[in-house]
């Protein structure tokens, strides 16, 4: 796969040694090519560019997986730690409104992508563990004593529904 063919012709997109960077205040990595595998950093700093790149790769029918922005040098982490960080960011960043609406707009199947990740690396136990932690935090609510009102950690109801049904949908995806 030629990276120069895929990436938009713009001064902000920079390629160096199979890594694509975005020039937004600093050079932030967005895509890594390791042999045949392609990784995209699911990063909230550059949501606009991540969505643009996902749309292009989806059109070209190229398979890819998401990755945590912490993992730049792989040799510093063990294999379990890498999966833990990746899956944590998978679950947490879909609660972000811009990612949730963006993926819906470009009709990208996010749950299918998670199930592909689990099939490739066989890390169901880590996913279950991370999902239990993140679900507890994202669906939590607190009482504001100044306003006498109850607030959720994630304000939108459709996102909360998606998160609560995520594990079930991943299981269905794995079956078929």
């Amino acid at each position: 796969m030629d990276l120069y063919r895929i990436i938009p012709k713009d001064d902000r997109w920079i390629i160096s040694k199979n890594i694509v960077y975005i020039d937004y205040l600093a050079k932030i990595p967005i895509l890594v090519k390791e042999g045949d595998a392609i990784w995209i950093y699911i990063d909230r700093r550059i949501t606009k560019y991540v969505l643009k790149l996902v749309k292009i790769l989806q059109k070209e029918e190229i398979k890819f997986l998401f990755r945590s922005n912490r993992i730049i040098f792989e040799h510093k982490f063990s294999q379990d730690e890498i999966h833990e960080l990746n899956l944590k960011q998978y679950i947490r960043n879909i609660a972000d409104e811009s990612f949730f609406d963006g993926f819906n707009k470009i009709e990208f199947d996010y749950t299918r992508n998670i199930s592909e990740y689990l099939l490739k690396y066989k890390c169901h136990d880590i996913f279950k563990k991370q999902y239990a932690i993140q679900k507890k935090r994202l669906l939590s609510k607190y009482w504001d004593y100044y306003q006498n009102k109850e607030f959720y950690e994630v304000s939108r109801e459709d996102i909360r529904d998606y998160i609560s049904a995520l594990e079930r949908e991943v299981k269905i995806n794995l079956l078929f």
């Binding site: 205040l25 909230r44 700093r45 960011q89 960043n93």
Partner: protein, 118 residues
């Protein structure tokens, strides 16, 4: 000439300067935009967080007025800059509110003329 691009570039330089300054001075641990707990962080890790957006809104004091920020009312260093145009306007609005019961959001030249003497 000093066009919109020039102003945007200058603002970017100013924000970068503030970000780099903070990373050198203060704490060594922080949460980044993706809620990761990072130890011995660099200025790139602050991008997208609340502190980064704070630096966009805050202003720095200039000889004549406050500059480099979206909300020009919020001072970056101090609010005791009594010689600036922004501070004068704030005082003027307070005076109108106190003496003539005119709220600050209703201000226009015609409105003041109608409601005041002379």
């Amino acid at each position: 000439m000093r066009s919109r691009d020039w102003r945007r570039q200058k603002e970017k330089q100013k924000i970068l300067k503030r970000l780099k300054g903070l990373a050198c001075q203060h704490m060594y641990r922080t949460y980044d935009a993706n809620d990761n707990w990072i130890q011995s962080y660099k200025w790139m890790d602050i991008i997208g967080t609340s502190t980064h957006y704070m630096y966009k809104t805050h202003t720095t004091k200039h000889r004549y007025k406050n500059r480099w920020g979206k909300g020009k009312k919020v001072g970056f260093w101090s609010s005791n800059d009594s010689k600036t145009r922004v501070f004068d306007k704030r005082l003027f609005k307070k005076m109108l509110d106190r003496e003539y019961d005119i709220k600050s959001f209703n201000i226009s030249y015609g409105f003041i003329q109608n409601n005041t003497e002379g």
